[in-house]
Amino acid sequence: MPAELERTLIVMPALNEQASVASVVEEVLSTLHGVTCLVIDDGSSDATASEANRAGARVAQLPFNLGVGGAMRLGFRYALDNGFDNVVQVDSDGQHYPSEVPTLLRHLEQADIVIGTRFSGDATYRVRGPRKWAMSLLASVLSRIAHTKLTDTTSGFKAMGPRAVRLFASNYPAEYLGDTIEALVIASKAGLRIVQVPTPMRERTTGKPSHNPLKSAVYLGRASLALLIGLLRPTARMPEGAA
């Protein structure tokens, strides 16, 4: 679907990813012909921006760190201002396979948001304890809100269709965990359709996931809070001409 790809913006939030960002950008551009790749340098202190630029991505540099939510908001605004219909969020650490992007885009025909999930399919990704409770709690609550089965609600691999791009360009939460949990609540309440698609994912190439019980407990607390606030907030209205 070359036409689809030309109207699609790949947004990669990147914080100090100079080691991996260039190869991820190159893989995206060589796998997905005609696609535009925007790397949001989220206040990195290393050469992330110039590495991404060298690899052929457009680069927007935030003057200081805003978090994934802040970076994505910029991506949605850029997409809207520059006439892109779809936004696909891809992590800059190489966890996601760019070759899966067309699969996500294909599902956008019946939905506004497609989440690439790592659970269904191969079960190589395992979590335990409070983090697992947090994830299953989020999954069950968000599934109910979105009227569809969602298992991996904090996945960073997502495709957003035109309606979602318009909604998120003006309404994207920049708080911690807001970019995943709260964004899904906002979208559901605004009447957008969310689906999930199982996609294979790689082990992360750089950095390491934080897995200790205390951090997981804090994560559970913050996730619940993000969910609660998302539910309590007034419903975001779709911007003009987007109904």
């Binding site: 949001i40 050469a47 110039s50 630029n53 927007a60 540099q61 802040g70 908001r73 850029y78 201002d81």
Partner: protein
């Protein structure tokens, strides 16, 4: 109440008012932020000069020890000030974030315009400078 404690109360209240007004005068404090401090200073001055009003007010709201009313009102004012500051911090953060987004967008746009105009690429130039 001794004379010393009476004087202490009045002087402390006057000091608060003098400091707040002087800061306002020098532009070190904006009016909206000074409001709570002025209210606190005036209340302290009234209670300091006329201790009877404090006893009357305590009796009115059913507080047995007038000093407890002082503590309660002080804490309430500090609480409101903190809450106001948190709310304003949130507004400031929202504005800062919007500015950061706008600055990033404009920088990207300038870079693309410069590239189209054949002025070279500053990010690439930065890289060669660094190496």
């Amino acid at each position: 109440m001794t004379v010393a404690s009476y004087i202490l109360g009045v002087v402390a209240a006057l000091l608060v008012l003098v400091i707040v007004i002087e800061m306002l005068r020098r532009g070190k404090l904006r009016e909206r932020h000074a409001l709570w401090w002025l209210i606190a200073g005036v209340l302290a001055l009234i209670a300091g000069v006329f201790p009877k009003t404090l006893e009357w007010a305590a009796h009115l709201v059913g507080v047995q020890l007038p000093t407890n009313l002082v503590f309660f009102v002080s804490i309430a004012i500090l609480f409101l000030v903190c809450l106001q500051h948190s709310a304003e911090l949130t507004t400031m953060e929202t504005k800062t974030r919007a500015l950061a987004e706008q600055s990033a967008m404009q920088e990207l746009r300038i870079r693309e315009l410069e590239r189209q105009a054949g002025l070279g690429d500053r990010l690439a130039a930065d890289e060669s400078d660094a190496s």
